[in-house]
Symmetry: C2
Subunit: 400 residues, 2 copies
């Protein structure tokens, strides 16, 4: 039998490690012959654009290098399957591709949209009497998938955020005048990644002094009061804010209008910078961590990369045990010592759903997170991967 694997959604540092998990487990499984990689997610299956991964991942060095290469080596897509009632042609193409290449199991590494594909495709195949198994392998830096304790890719993003915010704290503290630094962190609806900056307390950092998440209603008045209170105690105030925080009064727009009269959508960091400048008038700067949060493999979390590989491997085991329409998930057994196990769950519990940051982990004032959040996050950023370097730069695996 052969198997196929594809990657979908936004890039992370761990999505190639999950691919290696699938690949390496296949190598360990005598029943599996070829491992096909589908180019650009499910689109590669639909268009029959597959590559035989054994022809391109040839050595242990290749595997280790790909494991630590950010983004998706097979490319990605944002394609969502139609409902079978609407359009069955695309499903027929997928089934034809599976049959043509004797593919008995398909592994889809992605977020909640990709789990929707797992649900729809596995239901279609069952209905058609096909024995092909479909298993979802979760990934997202947003950490917003339900059921699973956390999501591969998140730990590395959190480690990057922690290291970078710590360096920004050093950078912002050099002058004798008072200053406010706003760091805008990814997460359109869920505040997990922004909240994770609290891990800096493990290294005795007092900053970020204020943390704002989309799960709590934001008040400009309260924000200005919070900043003033922190300025009374600290020379250089550092604020972590999630890109998903909505500022009703500002509408994240600050009234800025372009030539065509369209309002200019500045980020929330820039909006808060403007508020501080206007209301407090001190030195202020905003910093967007941007895509670096999801692709900075040079400072990835070993825990995250190892777990990403493990959950990929466990997905292969699940498929061979006959499971389908499932998403692999982590179940945490203990914070200290940190212990997780991998299970499978029905993909419909994950598909199209978001898991928000727990309200009970936000303090009453809505400007910080609790000790329980700190204990949750800290294990996820532990350990460093020995990054392969060439010419003073990280070496990446490339398909070419």
């Amino acid at each position: 039998m052969n198997i196929a694997v594809a990657q979908s959604g936004g890039p992370t540092c761990a999505i190639n490690a999950s691919l290696i998990g699938v690949f390496r487990q296949a190598l360990r499984t005598p029943a599996i012959d070829a491992v096909f990689g589908s180019i650009n997610g499910i689109e590669g299956i639909i268009k029959d654009e597959l590559i035989d991964l054994k022809l391109v991942i040839k050595t242990n060095e290749d595997m280790e290098l790909l494991r630590q290469t950010p983004s998706t080596v097979l490319g990605s897509c944002r394609y969502k399957l139609p409902r079978t009632e609407e359009d069955s042609a695309v499903y027929e193409k997928i089934l034809a591709c599976f049959e043509r290449h004797r593919i008995e199991a398909f592994f889809y590494i992605g977020g909640n949209d990709s789990m929707d594909t797992v649900v729809k495709l596995s239901a279609y195949l069952k209905e058609k009497g096909s024995s092909v198994k479909v298993i979802g392998i979760p990934k997202t830096i947003d950490n917003d998938l339900p059921v699973t304790d956390h999501t591969p890719g998140f730990g590395s993003a959190a480690k990057y955020v922690a290291a970078t915010v710590q360096e920004i704290i050093r950078d912002s503290s050099v002058y004798s005048i008072q200053s406010v630094t706003i760091v805008e962190i990814m997460g359109r609806h869920a505040g997990w990644l922004t909240a994770s900056a609290c891990v800096l307390r493990a290294n005795d950092e007092l900053a970020p002094h204020l943390i704002y998440l989309p799960e709590k209603k934001f008040s400009v008045e309260q924000f200005v009061e919070d900043v003033r209170a922190m300025m009374a105690k600290h020379k250089a105030v550092v604020v972590a804010v999630s890109e998903g925080v909505e500022i009703p009064e500002e509408n994240c727009r600050s009234g800025v209008v372009d030539n065509f009269g369209h309002e200019y959508l500045s980020g929330v960091g820039k909006a808060l910078e403007n508020i501080v400048r206007r209301e407090i008038g001190c030195k202020v700067r905003s910093i967007e961590l941007n895509v670096m949060q999801r692709c900075s493999s040079h400072i990835c979390s070993k825990t995250d990369i190892d777990e990403a590989e493990l959950i990929g491997a466990k997905g292969v085991e699940a498929a061979l045990a006959g499971e389908t329409g499932k998403t692999m998930v982590f179940k945490r057994l203990s914070d200290i010592p940190y212990v997780v196990k991998v299970e499978s769950a029905p993909a419909e519990l994950v598909a199209n759903k978001e898991k928000f940051f727990p309200p009970e982990w936000i303090n009453d004032q809505g400007n910080d997170v609790t000790e329980a959040a700190f204990r949750y996050f800290l294990p996820l950023i532990q350990g460093e991967v020995n990054i392969a370097m060439r010419n003073g730069m990280p070496l990446h695996f490339k398909l070419r």
Copy 2:
């Protein structure tokens, strides 16, 4: 005898390594008793805010940790000394501080403004018959100081830019649709740091496909033509642009106006993003590397950190040999193998001056740099410092 050291100007990853260079050389020199650290640059001398560094840097571990901690552990300032004719009181305070603490040599780690302080202060002291020596130790991520081959702090910034742009290349290449990614890199007047992204060619990266520097006049029309030409060859085009590039037609403002009618000063990256969206209409994103360029010690260049320490140590040797009013500089003897030596130069050759990126290292079209530039940059990012980690995050040295 005692000595004093201070740090000035914008933070870098190497400025504390130069402090350690001064400190460690002092430990090796029996004639030197105390090493005073001046808080917030020359302001600490003026206000007599000094700390005895031997009381806070106590172990080899402390030295190694401070060597790899970004920013300025003693704080910084933007203070420029007045001319002696205008205000001699401040000079009298400095001299009084030196005499009070038996300080016989003062080392000022900073950029071209700080070298102005070295020039003025050494001239004043000579005139007053004081034997105190004043030596400048260069630093700036901008690499724009004359005389010296390059500047401590630059190599680490260039290594961060290379690693990060490489990760952005991976991130931007995942989808099947065409895209343009604009990366805005620091350098208000000089394009060194932006140009250094060319080192990625050593790792077979084709991107950044286009490089724009402030040293070459920018044309929007030519830019759009350049991007279109690259899009014909590459699915995901990556552009490196210096923040100092002036866009006459756009004025870096894109006509965006705030509530008060003030034009909104977006960065050049955002301006180019707007141009691509308007003129080409493809998927486009701009990314500002922001202060991370100057403080990301977790991926600093060992060559840079070692050289920063060396040039600090050599400054102490120069002062003890009787030199004053000098700036320490690197002279490159060879690219391959890379060999530099440290010399001293009259500080007035460096003070208040800028060294621009050589026009002969820019290609005729003004959208790339030459092989000679590549050979210049590559040695500066070599080697990795073994970063001390605690709780999954880099450990920083703090005064407290």
